[in-house]
Symmetry: C2
Subunit: 200 residues, 2 copies
């Protein structure tokens, strides 16, 4: 049994690409190396799954207000900037950092039902493409998510819309990964599994 | 029309992950940002396709012989080592470089129907996993393939089995990519599209 197949999170699912009729298909390199009389195919597959991304409704901004959304983005990024593993992904220069944070806040506000400043200034954009210049592996995404969660806790993000907000960014963050270090699928962090700090 | 959908090589194909019944599904960020009364889903997908990999039959080694296969691996890697873009992926130290090349040659010989030295020494292995420590983007794969092709030409790799050898490594090399810099699928280099140098 090949390692790839004993692993439920294996990314080597069968793909649609064709294998010529009559030629054997094997499931891993070990089998491919063992047989040698004829050409044999290791089946196709694909890299990371990108789960559907639930964009929030405008309930989010109606309940949080724009200032809190902007504060969350700023505080989240202040925390990211201080992290030893991913802090270098953000501008060192304060003025540049501030501009980046404002742009991200514009995006978040618009996605949550607020004014369309982001689209007006940046045009139609692809977040995955925008992140390609920065090396983001699975672990960088996890650090990013952890800093987001603690920010939501510390800034008392309203419980009524916290799940909606979290579900959006937890799913979308997977699409920012562009450096793979494992064949496993990126870990999911469903809201129901997050530990919510007890009220004091 | 969203950029992702006007692009035939778009990696955002629909995936199996479920979207709750009755909630709208949109096809790109632009639409996701435009609608705001209810939560809306950007459909799932996946990153790179991994095409099936045709492992060669033992016709390859019967026709080339083991010494030529080993020479191809060595010459290929001597060329890779001198490339400015990916040369740094290989050991600078000659003794270490030689060991790496010998190990790769063992793998190639075994895959082509020769003795199983590689599996005996290294055990069952996953080539994608083995390459994770090294950052390999789409362009690094292309450099690797070009150096392979020129090596096959210069070492007069037998025409009868060159397609079988090339088809194997052209497909397998896609699985070594672990740093994405584009949403496009990795470019294919089918044997039929390769320019074969005219005999002198």
């Amino acid at each position: 049994m090949c390692q790839a197949h004993s692993n439920a999170a294996c990314s080597h699912q069968r793909a649609d690409a064709p294998v010529p009729e009559g030629e054997p298909v094997v499931h891993c390199l070990k089998e491919a190396l063992q047989v040698s009389e004829q050409r044999r195919w290791v089946h196709g597959g694909h890299d990371m799954d990108f789960p559907p991304v639930p964009f929030p409704s405008n309930r989010v901004i109606l309940i949080t207000g724009e200032p809190l959304l902007r504060s969350v983005v700023r505080e989240h990024h202040e925390r990211l900037r201080r992290l030893p593993d991913i802090g270098d992904l953000f501008p060192r220069d304060n003025a540049t950092f501030d501009k980046v944070v404002e742009r991200i806040a514009d995006f978040v506000v618009e996605a949550c039902g607020g004014p369309s400043r982001y689209t007006e200034a940046q045009g139609h954009t692809c977040m995955r493409t925008r992140h390609f210049p920065f090396t983001i592996d699975e672990s960088a995404r996890e650090s990013w998510l952890k800093a987001l969660w603690s920010t939501l806790e510390d800034l008392n993000f309203p419980a009524e819309v916290r799940e909606e907000y979290w579900a959006w960014l937890e799913a979308m963050s997977i699409r920012m990964i562009n450096r793979r270090t494992t064949k496993e699928q990126p870990r999911r962090y469903p809201y129901s599994a997050m530990h919510i700090r007890a009220a004091a």
